[in-house]
Amino acid sequence: MTLSLETSITINAARSKVFAAWTKPELIKKWFAPGTMTVPAAHADPRPGGTYSITMKGEESSPTVIGEYREVVDGEKLVFTWSWEGDPSEPTLVTVTFRDAKGGTEVALKHERFTSTESRDKHLEGWNSCLANLDKYMRG
């Protein structure tokens, strides 16, 4: 039995712009970290089999998340694996869907294959904070 989480947010921006914020390294650097953490380094090669990495810099540590895209539907859907660099456990899996919604674009996120509630809960907190930062960034 593995655990999963789901969360979503509606961003007041066009779908293509929100999708770009998830897939272009120069835009990923603007928001893709929780709280007050910054993103000093990122790369993204959004095609099936392509890889990404995002380094989140905090006061005490700078973890890097790495993974591989499994599915990429331009403007609609991203499926990618998720591992913390140096963590030998099995990668988890993230699915993000982008839909036109009242008030902009609905970003729905599912993150599955967690093996502990602690990790799942931490990631849920992290994602909610990241999505709030995405919202803040897209508002300019």
Partner: protein, 111 residues
């Protein structure tokens, strides 16, 4: 003179101490790439990528070869092997510690 299979661990670990260089290594671990292929998924200038490649090259973590007008970059796994061997020496210490923890926990379970 050290032989060609002796690697400079200072340079290797210094080269590995940057997330962009580690991600470039992961990229070329999947196969030989041109410099522009390597640069594509980053928002870095060609000069910045070249600088990272030079650091990796000075640690001998990558090899370059010319293919017509292209420069092909590949991983030199032997250099990583030397770093791995250095780290592996410490493997015995963490396995001993884990065994000690296991003993302690089993001890606790006894009535």
């Amino acid at each position: 003179m050290p032989s060609s299979d002796v690697y400079d661990l200072d340079r290797i670990f210094q080269a590995l101490s940057d997330p962009t260089r580690r991600s470039i290594l992961r990229q070329i671990a999947r196969g030989e790439h041109t410099i522009s292929d390597i640069a594509k998924p980053y928002d870095l200038t060609f000069a910045a990528i070249s600088k990272h490649l030079k650091v990796l090259e000075s640690a001998r973590l990558i090899d370059r070869r010319k293919d017509g007008s292209f420069q092909m970059i590949s991983l030199n796994a032997e250099a990583l092997k030397s770093a791995d061997q250095w780290l592996r020496h410490y493997q015995q210490f963490w396995s001993i510690r884990l065994d000690a923890l296991k003993d302690l926990l089993e001890e606790k379970d006894k009535p």
